[in-house]
């Protein structure tokens, strides 16, 4: 269980999170939705422990994240950023093996078991054929899948025990339509095969509708609504969150809810 209780965070004087609480059960797939500047990415950073909340607690399976050693947390929780730019020309396999670093001693190097885990992760994300390629030469979608592979390799031991967490920050924001669908399918398949708890931050409503079982809607750093995707993703909530009139219906072909934005409507207080 990944839980945030009454979390507050501010960049200097600017409050970004104002008393956010959420809970993602083990094996859950949760989405954090909200417009630009609503605090999605900050919430994900607080959940991953890279930002410390000024108030409130984030806990993983009942243990306070701020009291957990970085490398201990890293063995069970991996983060996939929106985009990854490497400063140097690492190969794809080297990038995925970086996921094994929290499992190694100070001067220990990756052994055959680590390489097997990395290759397994590459296979799971359909990127085995890129193994020897330079990461920088891949397309945006391919890079994203490799970084997801690195994250899988990072939490591999914990995944076997059911306590692995994968946090993804806007995983489809930099991708074209085909890659967006590919990443959606990949995440769904991964969770079916491995006991992983997944949290994504996104502003892509249809992506969230397709993959998330529960949603937290953030507006100006506060929780506007939270619960099962079907209950939360309503025209009323979308209007309140984005100021947009939308049609929400189950699409037979897609097999899940789809959101069709119709028109911008003035939010309360707007001309």
């Amino acid at each position: 269980m990944l839980r945030a209780a009454d979390v507050e965070f501010a960049y200097g004087q600017t409050a970004v999170l104002r008393g956010v609480s959420l809970a993602v059960p083990t094996g859950g797939f949760a989405g954090i939705l909200g417009p630009n500047g609503s605090g999605k990415t900050t919430m994900l950073k607080v959940l991953s422990g890279t930002l410390k909340p000024s108030k409130g607690v984030v806990s993983v399976d009942g243990v306070d994240v701020s009291r957990t050693a970085r490398h201990t947390l890293a063995r069970r929780m991996a983060v996939v950023p929106q985009e990854t730019h490497l400063a140097f020309d690492y190969t794809v396999l080297e990038v995925v093996l970086m996921g094994r670093y929290p499992h190694l001693g100070t001067f220990e190097v990756e052994g055959p078991a680590d390489i097997a885990i990395a290759r397994d992760a590459l296979a799971a994300t359909g990127t085995s054929r890129f193994e020897d390629r330079l990461f920088a030469t891949l397309s945006g979608g391919e890079k994203q899948r490799v970084i997801i592979a690195a994250a899988l390799a990072q939490v591999a031991g914990a995944a076997a025990g059911g306590g692995a967490y994968l946090l993804l920050d806007e995983p489809t924001a930099a991708l074209d339509l085909a890659y967006q669908l590919e990443v959606s399918a990949l995440l769904r398949t991964l969770q079916q095969r491995r006991p992983i708890t997944i949290v994504v931050s996104t502003h892509d409503l249809n992506f969230a509708a397709g993959v998330c079982r529960s949603l937290v809607l953030l507006s100006e750093g506060r929780v506007l609504a939270a619960g099962d995707t079907g209950d939360v993703l309503t025209p009323a909530n979308i209007r309140a969150l984005y100021g947009v009139e939308a049609d929400v219906r189950t699409h037979d072909g897609a097999g899940h809810l789809v959101v069709v934005p119709i028109a911008r409507v003035p939010a309360a207080g707007e001309g």
């Binding site: 950073k45 991953s48 422990g49 890279t50 970085r70 490398h71 201990t72 947390l73 890293a74 063995r75 929780m77 991996a78 983060v79 950023p81 990854t84 730019h85 490497l86 400063a87 140097f88 020309d89 690492y90 190969t91 396999l93 080297e94 970086m98 996921g99 670093y101 929290p102 190694l104 100070t106 001067f107 190097v109 990756e110 055959p112 390489i115 193994e131 020897d132 990072q154």
Partner: protein, 335 residues
């Protein structure tokens, strides 16, 4: 198929180590006067009468060893600074260490101060003190509120400090007499003519500390190339790694510059050549760069001694002539 890291490391160390060892063994034999190695090691002759031994042990061996140490230090420090700043174009001198060292040396040359410590003359002491001063200023500026290092501020502070110290150096030079100006120029170009083992012996403990930290840093540097957040979510204590990288690389650079002056380009050419050969993994790049840097600078010094006999070209001129075009090629290649 990528070889396992252990094998790559062994291969690289064996290859570059052989190159470094060969250059250190052969370099003392080269020079404007040819020497007989057997005669140099002939203990039946008194040292004062054995010209070959004097040339070998007094003139050439110290500068060869100095070249190896300085080359290794600058190349490895270049790797660490590039990793810390996530910028392949950073050099050991980017953050102002050499400018601080130069200002210290210039002040001593122009003032004629003749203090010494532990057998060292005033110039290397002042240059090391100058680099410590520069490092302290840059660090104080770059330390963000939460205690981490802002690499943007590091870069800006370093570049600004370089410019500011260069202006102060010009000011000092403007009031110096011709003899002092010549000595300043020689120091600024970079020269391995150490003339004794003392500077080497003094620098060795400092470099040993720096290289010990480098060994620990190799893995964190790989993860730092993912960015601060990426490194942190992989379990790295980013603040500690950044601080260790900044201070150890500055220490190595300060020690190297105190021996030989600011010899340019070693800290950028070597890391890049090494990466082209062994890939990007810092665990292979760091030892390879240190060994290749040693071989490279010793080789450049042989060129410096033999190119225009009996005149010895300062080794900094050789590295700059080789390094300038290489750097431009690198920029074009990256573009």
């Amino acid at each position: 198929m990528i070889r396992p890291i252990r094998r790559r490391l062994l291969l690289a160390v064996a290859g570059f180590g052989t190159l470094a060892a060969a250059s250190i063994l052969l370099a003392p034999l080269a020079g404007s006067t040819s020497i007989d190695l057997r005669r140099a090691f002939d203990t039946s002759l008194p040292f004062v009468e054995n010209v070959d031994a004097q040339i070998f042990f007094v003139a050439r061996l110290p500068r060869t060893l100095a070249g190896a140490l300085v080359g290794a230090a600058l190349a490895a420090a270049g790797v660490v600074f590039q990793g810390l700043l996530r910028n392949p174009l950073a050099t050991p001198f980017t953050l102002g260490v050499s400018a601080g060292a130069a200002l210290g040396a210039m002040l001593v040359i122009t003032s004629g101060w003749t203090f010494g410590w532990a057998g060292l003359p005033a110039i290397p002491i002042a240059s090391f003190a100058g680099s410590v001063g520069a490092v302290t200023i840059v660090y104080a500026l770059a330390r963000a509120r939460h205690g981490g290092l802002s690499t943007n501020v590091l870069l800006l502070a370093g570049v600004t400090l370089n410019a500011f110290f260069s202006a102060l150096i010009l000011f000092v030079q403007f009031f110096a007499d011709y003899a002092d100006l010549y000595r300043m120029l020689r120091w600024l170009v970079g020269d391995l003519d150490v003339a004794s083992y003392q500077p080497i012996l003094t620098a060795v403990p400092l470099l040993a500390v720096a290289f010990g930290v480098f060994a620990w840093l190799a893995r964190p540097l790989n993860l730092l190339s993912l960015g601060v957040d990426g490194a942190e979510t992989h379990g790295i204590d980013v603040r500690r790694a950044q601080r260790a990288a900044f201070f150890s690389a500055s220490l190595a650079t300060g020690a190297a510059v105190s021996i030989a002056g600011p010899i340019g380009f070693v800290g950028i050419i070597i890391p890049h050549l090494v990466r082209l050969i062994v890939g990007a993994d810092h665990r292979v790049v760091l030892p390879s760069a240190a060994l290749f840097g040693a071989a490279f600078l010793v080789g450049c010094d042989v060129l410096a001694r033999t190119l225009m006999p009996p005149v010895e070209v300062p080794v900094g001129v050789i590295t700059a002539i080789l390094g300038g075009p290489f750097f431009l090629w690198l920029l074009v290649r990256r573009a």
